[in-house]
């Protein structure tokens, strides 16, 4: 016998149904979206296959992310770097809270893709930065991805220090920022030409370190940190004075300061294509002390998002694991020894990294005194006040900065030694290049007079 449904049962059912609906719509979904959603509402789904998407959205994403990360680790051990990239991407999508994966992935993309001569494939850097930005967006409560992104600007890109300042400042705002890492902000300020801000940062850190050291006199680390900051502050102030920074700010002449008169580095360069895809770069740069490196860039004339001696590093917000593979971008350093440089750049073993599919190429030479080591800056100044070059000083490619910049041109046929260049050796050089054999400088008066600190 089939009975009529009881009214009480129906009432219980209705209350339960309405109760769950009210809870889901009124409270739970919004809180879930805020605190427990994959990616907290910033879910990245681009590039995911349907099965990957399925895992990303079900409850097992952290487990799958863990398994994949263990797998990626085994690929690191075997050096199978190409296989790691998609795994890193997938893990960061599955679990955007795994900061280690973001940090490792960013470092891996930015640093580990190199040619046979250990030159990084800089076409990946916008992707590395995009990963860093995404990591910071997904993990806004911890300093780590802000610091890592700042470090990429400061150390790897080593050019736009304003970005390093921005990211280090963001990292500094987070409570968990490591004490030892805080000092870097002052270095970034200094390299960005904001010397007073750098000093101010050091003072603030010193005051805090002194308080911490006073509170716990037994802790050696606290004492050491305080002394490090004291030393940095002391050195920075002496340098500010000796480099004429304060005098300049006060409108006094720089005569008598280490940066005066500006030293002419007398740059010249010659590029010879000695074999297909192999360049010999030689030239002069009148700085005697070791530690000077000139940036050389070889890239397509129409390289996407190109800027002088670089590219728009911050051009991407998407982690694109396929850089512009048809474009070539080679960046290296020319080390100065005895006021000259001579370097062979072999790009013949890495056709994927240097495809040379375009017709025309630009060889750029760039030197920014802001990136120079402190002992060179003692002569050149914080912003290149003591630096000049009668031919190639440029104040436009980096707005408001005194840098050395010049370009030479090569064609695809010249680089690949094809066509008319099969039997001829292509040579391009700056107009002031002088073939002087082993020594470019006959006159010793060109030697830089390197000031010593506190003399």
């Amino acid at each position: 016998m089939i009975r009529k449904p009881s009214t009480l049962l129906l009432a219980i059912g209705a209350i339960c149904f309405l109760g769950q609906a009210a809870l889901q719509r009124g409270v739970i979904f919004d809180k879930w979206k805020k605190d427990y959603s994959p990616g907290r509402g910033q879910m990245v789904a681009g590039g995911l296959s349907p099965d990957q998407m399925l895992f990303a959205l079900t409850g097992f994403r952290e487990m799958v992310a863990g398994i994949l990360w263990v797998r990626a680790d085994s690929f690191f051990d075997t050096g199978n770097y190409d296989a790691i990239l998609p795994i890193i991407r997938l893990v960061t999508i599955l679990d955007p809270k795994q900061i280690d994966v973001y940090a490792t992935g960013m470092w891996h993309i930015g640093y580990n893709f190199t040619d046979e001569e250990q030159r990084s494939d800089r076409r990946y850097i916008p992707s590395a930065l995009a990963l860093g930005k995404e990591g910071a967006r997904q993990n806004p409560n911890t300093y780590e991805m802000f610091f890592e992104t700042g470090w990429m600007w400061y150390h790897k890109i080593d050019d736009d220090y304003g970005q390093a300042v921005k990211w280090f400042n963001e990292a500094q705002k987070r409570e968990d920022m490591l004490v030892a890492r805080k000092n870097l902000l002052s270095n970034a300020y200094e390299r960005n030409g904001q010397v007073p801000e750098g000093i101010e940062t050091l003072y603030t850190l010193y005051e805090s370190a002194a308080e911490t050291a006073e509170a716990d006199k037994q802790a050696f680390g606290n004492k050491q940190n305080k002394e490090t900051l004291e030393n940095k502050l002391d050195t920075a102030i002496v340098r500010m004075i000796q480099r004429g920074f304060i005098a300049e700010k006060e409108g006094r002449p720089l005569v008598g300061y280490d940066v005066y008169p500006p030293f002419d580095v007398n740059f010249s360069a010659k590029v010879t294509v000695i074999d297909p895809r192999v360049l010999k770069v030689e030239g002069s740069y009148g700085v005697l002390p070791v530690g000077t490196r000139i940036r050389i860039v070889l890239k397509d004339v129409d390289f996407p998002n190109s800027v002088p001696a670089g590219m728009e590093w911050d051009s991407s917000n998407d982690v694109n694991l396929d850089p512009p593979k048809k474009s070539t971008f080679m960046q290296d350093q020319l080390f100065i020894r005895n006021r000259k440089f001579n370097r062979k750049i072999d790009m013949s073993k890495d056709p994927t990294m240097y495809p040379f599919t375009g017709q025309d190429y630009l060889v750029e030479f760039y030197y920014n005194p802001r990136s120079a080591p402190p002992h060179i800056q003692d002569k050149f100044g914080f912003n290149g006040e003591g630096f000049t070059d009668k031919n190639f000083l440029n104040t436009e490619v980096r707005e408001g900065q005194r840098v050395l910049y010049t370009t030479l041109k090569l064609t695809r046929d010249q680089i690949l030694r094809r066509g008319e260049w099969k039997d001829k050796v292509p040579v391009v050089k700056t107009s002031n290049f002088v073939e002087t054999g082993r020594n470019y400088f006959g006159d010793d008066s060109l030697t830089i007079d390197l000031p010593s600190l506190r003399n």
Partner: protein
């Protein structure tokens, strides 16, 4: 009430004796035991990966147990005709269904308790026998228990009118859909190009569907750097939501089962 308790305890006994469930449980525990040996990563990565894997294993194993345990429950009673013996006694059909459900949830709870004990023991060993943080870790299996109780209710509801095999896929599909719909709805909500009708429809589905994703609270436990305000309140709300939904499913199940010829 006594008859409900008696059916529930009998169901627990039956469940514990079922070899297939014990094998699934054993495999789950085996995975939990070997998980710490997988890969040598950085200290923090290792903890993160281990927590993610162990909680995932518990969740996955529990889901399989919950489905396998409940899909056969009512059909088996009918097939073996044991239901006649029970219903010939002064036991109402709703009492039978409720007793069966509570028994299944109890058995599931026991099995999950065992897995959680392995989890806690592993982390206790890993943390050099320190108990700090373990309480936070336990929150995830507790929420999984509510999730699996909801899943068992879905299976019990379907088992009142479909065959076990169909029920297996139906419940599994519902679990998948219920896990996917929250993120899917969120994407639709935030997408500028979604037509308002589609948004409205998604909102309706999100309101009536059992949202299993509400119980996937493991991420902040796996990655402890996150700041979440008052997670306990959320756990409580999600539990009440689960109880309401289970209530709805059981009432529907009772209504269908009451009208079914056995």
């Amino acid at each position: 009430m006594r008859s409900i308790i008696s059916i529930a305890t009998t169901t627990v006994g039956e469940a514990i004796r079922r070899k297939v469930l014990l094998i699934i449980l054993l495999v789950g525990i085996l995975f939990l035991v070997v998980a710490p040996g997988l890969g040598v990563l950085s200290a923090r990565s290792e903890t993160t990966v281990l927590r993610g894997m162990m909680l995932g294993i518990i969740q996955l194993t529990s889901a399989v147990i919950a489905i396998v345990l409940t899909v056969y429950m009512i059909p088996n009673e009918i097939e073996r005709r044991t239901i006649y013996t029970i219903l010939s006694k002064p036991v109402q059909r709703w009492q039978f269904l409720l007793g069966k459900y509570l028994g299944a949830v109890l058995a599931l709870g026991l099995m999950m308790l065992l897995m959680t004990a392995v989890l806690v023991f592993t982390f206790w060993l890993q943390q050099d026998r320190q108990v700090s943080g373990i309480a936070d870790l336990i929150a995830a299996p507790l929420m999984y228990f509510v999730q699996m109780s909801l899943l068992a209710a879905v299976a019990i509801f379907f088992s009142t009118f479909v065959a076990p095999l169909v029920n297996f896929f139906l419940t599994g599909g519902m679990y998948l859909l219920g896990s996917l719909f929250n993120p899917f709805f969120q994407t639709l909500q935030e997408s500028q190009g979604t037509p308002p009708v589609a948004k409205l429809f998604a909102q309706f589905v999100n309101t009536i569907l059992p949202n299993f994703a509400n119980y996937n609270i493991q991420n902040p436990i796996i990655n402890p750097g996150q700041q979440i305000q008052n997670p306990q309140a959320y756990y409580m709300q999600a539990t009440i939501y689960g109880v309401f939904y289970i209530g709805t499913l059981l009432v529907l199940g009772i209504l269908i089962f009451d009208r079914r010829e056995v």
